[in-house]
């Protein structure tokens, strides 16, 4: 078999002759393909890169074991007769056992099948005597890694091979070997295949020296030992020398397959670094399968730092000019676009928008330069392809790693901009999980009509607005856009002129909906964006003056309430979800962009900032905060006292110490919450920090309270900080001090500043949460990889059944009702809304 597919027999370990030309019969024989430019392959006549290579072979002087098959070999030897080669199971039981084995294999895989066969044979009590020819059986053990011992005598691979040959095809099938197509004796190597040179190219160093591939080195060793073995056998050398060489050959062939066998020292380079042989090439993340076969590299892509630009549409991406002049889009020349495409060639690669290459119909690529420009123009005719620069409106796939869900790769429209960063609308940060603290993102330009169409139809931002995870909008207004709309719809009103200016800036030109009066309210301005027949009932996060939380939109007018995160934000953004459902994805994306810009424009006009003064509390409030904390601390002290005096009553089912901890925690948390309430009550209501908290755009009241009043108890694993040596948390406290301050209660606020001890406790919890994140990421990453691998080929078939790749039915109807989550509202069909809409 090996001989048949081979094109060269390898006889010498030498590589090149004196002239540096590959030796015939050497490892770099040009019959196995070529890796040097200029040479032609002797087998197929093709040149470098055209010839994919051909196998060679070595005739081994003595057969050796293949380590990867040794477990199977032992199983077979142990469970078949040494004389007649039949399996050690009586004929009458074979069919029954075959059924059992098939069952085992189906349930647990082929490895289990082999284990089971061993078990069966040992249970048969026939292990000592063959039921077919009554021959006595020896006891076979494996001396790792490749030596087999039978009754303290070694069995040579020749002997093993002879025994394997005797195994009948039917018996082999019992072992899970597909005989006669695969024969057990093939697991002993007599002829070794030599992979083509193209698989192990040598590198020419700068000094002109050649450096061979690891595999070539290894095969060189094998050939050398093999030759020596041949010579020794022919010369009639003593058995011991032959045996030694044989073992050496076995070692080399073993490490050639796998250089990481448990009992063997790995074969090394002269530098001491282990060789990378066949197994190492295939396995693990950096191996052939996961690195090169399941993972691909791509051209026509760009990567740089990202920055925000709210003036872009949500489905646009700002591409720097220098990038746009490197990335190209191929356009096929035909009669009608010839003049159009010629213009690009005229401009050449230096001027924008120009073209970088033309491709002739025969596939030859020609670079356009200022010299070849004229010739290219001449040459151009239908059938050619022009690779022109990236222009506004081209499709591009935008991506940020880690690509955890499908919204991590969306299709955007190119907008060529000056500058050196890729720009995106901040509203699409959520699906990408991006921020602008130095994040980089990738841009890919699809190169065929088919891929462009698929990108546009399946991947464009508007098609991804609703998350398939929970069926709600994942893209929404964030941060300033929420604050702005909140202010606009709750407090502001503008002179009509100003309002028009505002709306113009947002991109609205039809002001028919704006009431004709001197001053228009923010609600009215906001309503201009809404479609005429839009009705919506929702709730806001906070109540208005009248104490109601309702948000009411009737016939496209915001009648009551105001906009905040509940209506506009991602995930919760219920109003957005409704608009999307009723008016479609393109409209929803458009209106979202407008709302976003409206919010920002409002803030442009009024100014918005967080000030230190926002955290100021009036004197009496400060006093009350102090009092609350003092009281709490006093209470804690009382608890400790009663604990030490033993007068404390324990909670049912808990020890006294546990009870104390619980009560202390309770008191301190209550105190912190009280300070929070005080802050909420006394801090300036319309400070920008408060507005951010109220609208839900950023931060919450707790954050404010932590700044203004009290940071609160620091907890490690749900308890107060108690880890420490010598029974104390820090050396400035007495031993066994249970007081609040000694166990990580931070009574200061961030503004007043923390004491050194408090700072340290805070740092402790900070470190703990950092550790948590660092430990979690790889764990969840592995879980994700496993899930994805297990489920990747489960799809909905025609006829709505859910099946895997082998057409096995997993579900009769997807999710029991066939509803696509990304087309539902939070996984459901909103019956109530439908009923309400029908009057």
């Amino acid at each position: 078999m090996v001989k048949k597919m081979s094109s060269a027999k390898i006889v010498t370990p030498e590589l090149y002759d004196k002239e540096g030309y590959p030796v015939d019969g050497g490892l770099m024989d040009i019959r196995m393909g070529v890796i040097d430019p200029g040479l032609r392959c002797k087998t197929c006549g093709a040149r470098l890169k055209e010839c994919i290579g051909h196998f060679g072979y070595i005739e081994l002087a003595r057969p050796v074991m293949h380590i990867k098959f040794t477990p199977v070999i032992i199983t077979i030897l142990k469970s078949s007769c040494k004389d007649c080669g039949r399996i050690l199971i009586p004929d009458n039981k074979i069919s029954k056992i075959r059924e059992q084995l098939d069952q085992v294999e189906k349930e647990m895989g082929i490895e289990e099948r082999r284990k089971k066969i061993k078990e069966v044979v040992s249970l048969m009590k026939t292990a000592a005597k063959c039921p077919h020819c009554k021959a006595k059986q020896g006891k076979i053990t494996l001396q790792k890694p490749t030596t087999l011992i039978e009754d303290e005598k070694r069995i040579s691979p020749i002997e093993i091979r002879a025994r394997l040959e005797k195994v009948t095809d039917e018996d082999a099938q019992l072992f899970g070997i597909n005989a006669p197509h695969v024969r057990p004796e093939w697991m002993i190597i007599t002829v070794l295949a030599i992979p083509p040179v193209t698989m192990r190219p040598s590198i020419t160093l700068e000094t002109g020296e050649r450096s061979e591939d690891d595999l070539t080195h290894k095969i060189g060793d094998i050939v050398r030992i093999n030759q020596r073995l041949f010579e020794n056998i022919n010369a009639g050398a003593p058995e011991i020398i032959v045996e030694d060489l044989w073992d050496l050959l076995q070692y080399h062939i073993t490490t050639y397959f796998d250089n990481d066998v448990a009992q063997l020292p790995p074969a090394r380079h002269r530098s001491g670094q282990p060789l990378k042989t066949l197994t190492e090439r295939i396995k693990s993340k950096e191996g052939r399968i996961r690195h090169n076969l399941a993972g691909k590299r791509t051209n026509f892509s760009a990567r740089t730092v990202i920055s925000p630009d709210p003036m872009l549409e949500l489905n646009e991406v700002g591409v720097p000019l220098i990038v746009a002049m490197k990335l190209t889009v191929p356009e096929r020349v035909n009669e009608w676009n010839m003049a159009y495409l010629k213009k690009f060639i005229e401009k050449g690669p230096e001027e924008y928008p120009g073209a970088n290459y033309i491709i002739r119909p025969d596939g030859k690529k020609k670079k356009i330069t200022s010299e070849t420009k004229e010739a290219s123009l001449e040459e151009l005719q239908p059938g050619y392809t022009v690779e022109r620069h990236l222009m506004d409106g081209d499709v591009a796939v935008f991506n940020r790693q880690p690509s955890l869900h499908r919204m991590s790769m969306m299709c955007h429209r190119v907008k060529v901009l000056p500058g050196r960063t890729l720009r995106l609308n901040p509203a699409v940060c959520t699906p990408y999980n991006a921020d602008f603290d130095g994040d980089e993102m990738n841009l890919h330009i699809p190169q065929t009509e088919e891929s462009r169409a698929e990108a546009e139809i399946l991947m464009e931002v508007q098609t991804q607005v609703v998350s398939p995870r929970y069926g709600l909008s994942i893209i929404g207004c964030i941060q300033d856009a929420i604050s702005g709309n909140y202010l606009l719809t709750k407090y502001f009103s503008y002179a009509r002129q100003e309002a028009i200016d505002l709306l113009m800036a947002v991109g609205i030109t039809d002001f028919g909906k704006l009431p004709r009066k001197q001053t228009v309210s923010g609600k009215e301005i906001f309503s201009v964006l809404l479609p005429e027949d839009f009705n919506f009932k929702g709730t806001s996060r906070t109540a208005d003056e009248s104490g109601s939380n309702d948000v009411l939109i009737e016939n496209g007018k915001l009648v009551k309430g105001f906009m905040d995160k509940n209506s506009l934000g991602e995930e919760e953004g219920l109003m957005l979800r409704n608009i999307h459902q009723q008016y479609g994805k393109d409209f929803a994306l458009d209106i979202l962009g407008k709302m976003f810009r409206l919010g920002i424009e409002v803030l442009f006009r009024s100014g918005f900032t967080a000030a230190l003064a926002d955290t100021d509390l009036p004197e009496p409030a400060q006093l009350r905060v102090r009092e609350t904390l003092d009281n709490a601390q006093r209470e804690v002290e009382n608890f400790i006292q009663s604990y030490q005096q033993g007068t404390m009553e324990s909670y049912p089912g808990k020890t006294l110490a546990e009870t104390l901890e619980l009560r202390i925690l309770e008191v301190l948390n209550k105190a912190r919450n009280e300070t929070g309430d005080i802050v909420a009550k006394h801090a300036k209501k319309n400070s920008h920090t408060m507005i951010m908290a109220a609208s839900g755009s950023r931060g919450n009241l707790l954050n404010l309270a932590q700044m203004a009043a009290c940071v609160g108890q620091q907890a490690l694993r749900g308890r107060r900080i108690d880890k420490g040596y010598e029974n104390r948390t820090l050396s400035c406290y007495r031993e066994n001090d249970l007081n609040s301050d000694a166990r990580g209660f931070v009574r200061n606020g961030f503004k007043s500043g923390l004491t050194p001890q408090e700072f340290f406790f805070q740092a402790m919890t900070g470190r703990d949460s950092l550790m948590d994140t660092a430990l979690r990421t790889p764990k969840s990453g592995y879980l994700y990889r496993r899930l994805a691998n297990a489920l990747q080929d489960i799809k909905v078939e025609y006829g709505n059944t859910v099946r895997d790749a082998s057409k096995k039915i997993v579900q009769f109807q997807y999710g029991e009702d066939g509803i696509d989550v990304s087309r539902s509202e939070n996984g459901r069909i909103n019956v109530k809304r439908i009923i309400d809409s029908i009057r």
Binding site: F69, V72, G109, I110, G176, N178, V182, T279, I282, K283, L293, A294, K296, L404, R406, L458, P468, R469, Y470, G471, Y651, G653, E658, L662, R717, R776, K779, S780, G781, L783, R786, L787, N789, A790, L791, Q792, D793, K795, V796, Y798, N800, D804, A805, S806, I809, Q811, Y814, G815, D817, G818, I819, D820, R823, S824, G827, I829, V831, I834, I835, S837
Partner: protein
């Protein structure tokens, strides 16, 4: 109403029809009801999943992506030291691995009527809790002279638990063979029947005696009666669903355990599937995340289609794949390739990775439909 509902019975899922029923205003006209049904059906049709949708991957994304946001901590249940609850990411991993040994297994035992109102709650809890000899013993001593093991018993504890020395003796004789057990001034003495006994043997026997199960249900390490809403129930550390369900005071319909493997053994594979869904959904909810139930269902179905629970590991679901290359691309590629060589496996290139490997469109989504055309002669 009913007639229209019947008409739509095979066009809409039952859940939706029920929902329409619930939300329809009383006394709505026939015409309106019909209109509602029409509108709902239209929306349902448009919300239906398209063939070719790679729902598996979407499910994996939907569970994998929020995984990065979950906590790693296990927390102590209401301060009882032995009762830990695995929550967050580790729990999800535990469920999806299909582990047989859980880190912290747990049961929620609901009770039938008079007991759920608090009747005999304490006694019941103690009846469920596993009591071993070491729980009620004050001391274990070995009398070196005649090699007997003497066990002192805690009278008070035994009285609380309702155990008599006779019961202890009975359970010892039942669980270990070859010993003479006698009651001896407040304690019991155990002597082996075999003649040649060494001190070493006696010591081993002593250790074995400690774990003698005297009362309660095997495996229930700790119990905690609890009031939830206006109902009492018992939370336990350790789990033994089969035996707990045998108790007559227990409401077998609602009692659950966190040990899904046990559910499979006691209640069958469908119950296990539902348990996976419930448990995963519980964790995700408790983390304040929103993942649609359909994704969890698909994962649970994927784990249980074979009729036996399989973890999402290289030994479980992945090893069931029909394609060698798909298996090899996950973990232990060499093993799969070697076995494929022996068995002469054929890869039909029906799943995703193989097609990625050979640079060919994958048979999913837009890659699914093929074009059939008549050839002109």
């Amino acid at each position: 109403m009913e007639t229209i509902a019947k008409e739509y019975a095979d066009k809409l899922p039952k859940k939706l029809i029920d929902e329409i029923n619930e939300h329809l205003p009383k006394g709505a006209s026939q015409a309106k009801i019909r209109k509602v049904f029409e509108a709902v059906q239209k929306e349902y049709e448009s919300a239906k999943i398209s063939p070719g949708e790679c729902v598996g991957l979407i499910a994996a994304e939907s569970i994998g992506e929020p995984g990065t946001q979950m906590t790693l901590n296990t927390f102590h249940f209401a301060g009882v030291a032995e009762m830990n609850v695995t929550v967050g990411l580790p729990r999800i991993i535990e469920i999806l691995d299909g582990r047989k040994e859980l880190k912290n297994s747990m049961m929620e035992i609901y009770l039938k009527k008079p007991y759920s109102e608090g009747k005999n709650l304490k006694e019941l809890a103690l009846q469920i809790k596993e009591t071993t000899l070491s729980h009620i013993a004050t001391e274990f001593t070995i009398n070196i002279a005649d090699l007997t093991i003497e066990v002192g018993l805690d009278k008070q504890k035994m009285k609380d638990l309702g155990i008599t020395p006779a019961m202890v003796i009975a359970s010892i004789t039942k669980q270990v063979k070859g010993f003479n057990v006698k009651e001896k001034d407040g304690g019991i003495s155990v002597k082996t029947k075999s003649k040649d006994e060494s001190l070493n043997e006696a010591y081993k026997a002593k250790e074995r005696l400690k774990d003698i199960h005297v009362k309660g249900i095997l495996g229930i390490r700790q119990v905690l009666p609890l009031k939830r809403g206006d109902e009492y129930l018992i939370i336990t550390a350790g789990s033994n669903l089969g035996d707990v369900l045998q108790l007559e005071q227990v409401d077998a319909h609602r009692t659950t355990t966190s040990d899904i493997y046990e559910i499979q053994n006691v209640l069958g594979i469908e119950a296990a599937r539902q348990a996976i869904i419930n448990e995963v959904a519980k964790v995700i909810d408790s983390q304040g995340l929103n993942v649609d139930i359909r994704h969890i269902m698909l994962v649970a179905d994927g784990m249980t289609v074979s009729g036996e629970m399989r973890g999402i590991t290289r030994y479980g679901v992945v090893s069931e794949k029909s394609s060698v290359l798909a298996r090899a691309s996950f973990e232990t590629p060499i093993k799969h390739l070697i076995n494929a060589a022996l068995t002469g496996e054929v890869d039909r290139l029906t799943s995703v990775v193989e097609n990625v490997m050979i640079n060919q469109p994958v048979p999913i989504g837009t890659g699914l439909p093929g074009l059939v055309s008549k050839q002109k002669k």
